[in-house]
C-alpha cells in the first residue's frame, strides 16, 4: 500500500512536470524546427570561427577590456564608498526603524533596475562611452553592495553593540568603531565578489553603448562579423577567469577567516 507521504510526493512531482510542460508549450518549444535550429547553429559557428586574429583588432580588444576593467573597478569602489555608510543607516541594528525602512526601499529600487537600463538612462544624460557605463555599474552596485553590507552589519555579535550602547556610545560610533572593524573580512570579501560580478555587468552595459568590450562586441554584431565577436568573447572569457582566479587568491592570502583562540 502506498503511504500518504509517498502519494503527496508523487502528486507534487506530477504537478511540477505539468507546469514545466505548460511553460514549454507557452514558449513554443514544441513548434520550433529543431533539426533546422541545429543546422543554423552549425552555420553560425562556421561564420564565427576566426581564420586568423587580426593584430589591430586584438589591440582594440585589449584596450576595450582595460576599459571594461576600469568600469568595473570604478563602479565597485565608488559604490562601496557610498554603500557602507548607507548600510549602517539601512540596518535594523544601527538605523532608526523609519529611516531603515525608507532607505531599504530606495536601495531595493536601485538593484531592481538592471544595470543596462541604468546605462541607457546615463547615455541619455551624458552620451555614449565608458562614463555612462561606470555610472550605471556604480548605481546598481550601490543597491547590491548595500544589501550585502546591511546583512553583514546586522549579523555582528549583539553583545558588542550592547556593551557599547550601555556605555552611552551612539549607534553610528558603534558601527564605525566596532561593527565595521569586526566585519572587515566579510565586507572586503563581498566587495571583491561584486567586483568579479561587475566585470561581467560592465560587458552588458557596454552592449547598449556604455563603453568597454561590450561596446566593441555590439559593433561587431551590427556588422555581422561573428568572427570578431568570437575573438572578443574569447578574450573576455580569459579576463573573467583571470579576475575570478585572482579574486580567489586574494581572498585566501589577505582575507583569511580570523582564527580565534578558544576562550
Amino acid at each position: 500500500m502506498v503511504s500518504r507521504t509517498r502519494l503527496r510526493e508523487q502528486a507534487t512531482l506530477a504537478a511540477l512536470a505539468a507546469l514545466v510542460l505548460a511553460a514549454l508549450w507557452h514558449v513554443r518549444f514544441f513548434e520550433a524546427n529543431w533539426p533546422r535550429a541545429f543546422h543554423n547553429l552549425w552555420r553560425f559557428l562556421g561564420d564565427a570561427t576566426p581564420e586568423a586574429i587580426d593584430p589591430d583588432f586584438a589591440a582594440a580588444v585589449g584596450v576595450a577590456l582595460l576599459e571594461t576593467l576600469e568600469i568595473a573597478f570604478l563602479g565597485t569602489v565608488l559604490a562601496a564608498v557610498v554603500a557602507l555608510p548607507l548600510s549602517v543607516f539601512a540596518s535594523r541594528t544601527f538605523g532608526g526603524p523609519a529611516a531603515s525602512l525608507a532607505l531599504r526601499g530606495v536601495l531595493s529600487f536601485l538593484r531592481t533596475v538592471p544595470s543596462f537600463v541604468w546605462a541607457i538612462v546615463f547615455i541619455a544624460m551624458v552620451g555614449l562611452g565608458p562614463l555612462p557605463g561606470a555610472l550605471a555599474v556604480t548605481l546598481y552596485s550601490i543597491g547590491y553592495l548595500s544589501k550585502l553590507y546591511t546583512e553583514i552589519l546586522e549579523g555582528v555579535n549583539p553583545e558588542i553593540v550592547e556593551a557599547l550602547s550601555a556605555a552611552g556610545v551612539s549607534r553610528w560610533r558603534i558601527a564605525q568603531h566596532a561593527a565595521i572593524p569586526e566585519s572587515t573580512h566579510l565586507l572586503l570579501s563581498q566587495t571583491l565578489f561584486v567586483f568579479e560580478y561587475n566585470v561581467r555587468a560592465s560587458t552588458i552595459v557596454g552592449l547598449v553603448g556604455g563603453g568597454g568590450i561590450g561596446f566593441l562586441m555590439a559593433r561587431a554584431f551590427d556588422l555581422y562579423r561573428y568572427d570578431l565577436l568570437m575573438v572578443a568573447l574569447l578574450f573576455l572569457l580569459v579576463l573573467v577567469v583571470a579576475v575570478e582566479f585572482l579574486g580567489g587568491r586574494l581572498r585566501k592570502t589577505y582575507l583569511p577567516e580570523p582564527v580565534a583562540v578558544p576562550a
Binding site: 556593551a163 564605525q176 580570523p258
Partner: protein, 245 residues
C-alpha cells in the same frame, strides 16, 4: 595594581540602582522571565546575582544597563556612567587590546575625534593605565581574538574602567575560568568597589561569591527569593537556590 584606581566620592545611603515591582516578558514569550522583582543596591556596594540558567539574571542586568525597558514596574539608575560586560564580553576580536579598551572613551570623544579615530592623549593614557590595572601591560597591540577567556574578561574590565563607571554590571563574570583566575578577577572587582564603584555580578559559584561581594541576591523562576549579606547565607537559602526548598 587596582589600588591605584581613582575613587569617586559615594554615599552608601543613595541607591545606585533601584528596581520596584519589575516584570519583564520577551516578545512572543509564553511567560515573563522576571516577575515583580524589587531590589535596591546602595551606591558603592557590591551584589552577586545568583541563580540557575534561565532565571533572569542577564535580563535583570540588561534592565539595569538600560538596554531594555521593563514590561511593568520601574528601574531607576542613579549612576550616570554604566559599564556593562556581557556574558561573552562583547569585544571586537580583530582589534587590539588597546583599541578595544579605547572604546570605553567613545561616548565622551568629540564628533571629529570619533570620526577620525583620534583619541585624546588623556584618553590614551587612561586606556594604558586601565590595561596596566588589569594586568595586561605589554599586550596592548595584541589582537583580542588571540587572548584566553580570562584575559578577554580583563580587557572588558579595562574598557569599563576607561568609562570611569559609577556602576559596573558583569554577566557570568567568572564563566569558563579556573578557580585561580576567578579569584584574581574577583580581587579586581573588589578593588573597583573600594574605589567607589557599585558592582553587580551575575555568577554561579556561591563559595567564591561569599568572600567577594557585600550581598547575594538569590534568583529562581524569575523572582528574587532573598537578598542576604554574603557572610550570612543560610542552608535554607542555599536549598532554595538549588531548587530543593
Amino acid at each position: 595594581m587596582a589600588e591605584a584606581l581613582s575613587a569617586p566620592v559615594v554615599s552608601r545611603s543613595v541607591p545606585a540602582v533601584e528596581l520596584a515591582d519589575v516584570s519583564f516578558r520577551y516578545p512572543r514569550a509564553a511567560a515573563p522571565i522576571l516577575r515583580d522583582v524589587s531590589l535596591r543596591i546602595p551606591a558603592g556596594t557590591s551584589v552577586a546575582l545568583m541563580g540557575a540558567n534561565g532565571t533572569g539574571k542577564t535580563t535583570l542586568l540588561r534592565l539595569m544597563a538600560g538596554l531594555v525597558a521593563p514590561t511593568s514596574g520601574t528601574v531607576r539608575t542613579a549612576a550616570g556612567r554604566v559599564g556593562y560586560i556581557p556574558q561573552q564580553v562583547g569585544l571586537v576580536g580583530r582589534l587590539s587590546v588597546e583599541e578595544n579598551v579605547l572604546h570605553g572613551a567613545l561616548s565622551r570623544a568629540g564628533a571629529w575625534q570619533a570620526l577620525t579615530n583620534r583619541f585624546s592623549d588623556a584618553d590614551r593614557s587612561r586606556a594604558r593605565r586601565a590595561i596596566e590595572d588589569v594586568g595586561l601591560a605589554g599586550r596592548e597591540e595584541e589582537p583580542v581574538a588571540r587572548l584566553s577567556g580570562g584575559q578577554r574578561r580583563r580587557v572588558a574590565i579595562a574598557r569599563a574602567l576607561v568609562q570611569e563607571p559609577e556602576l559596573l554590571l558583569a554577566d557570568e563574570f567568572l564563566a569558563n575560568l579556573d578557580v585561580a583566575k576567578a579569584a584574581e578577577l574577583l580581587d579586581l572587582a573588589r578593588s573597583l568597589q573600594r574605589s567607589g564603584v557599585t558592582v553587580v555580578l551575575a555568577m554561579h559559584d556561591l563559595v567564591l561569591a561569599k568572600g567577594a561581594v557585600d550581598r547575594i541576591a538569590f534568583l529562581r523562576d524569575g523572582t528574587i527569593g532573598a537578598v542576604v549579606p554574603s557572610g550570612h547565607v543560610t542552608a535554607e537559602q542555599v536549598r532554595w537556590y538549588l531548587g530543593h526548598a
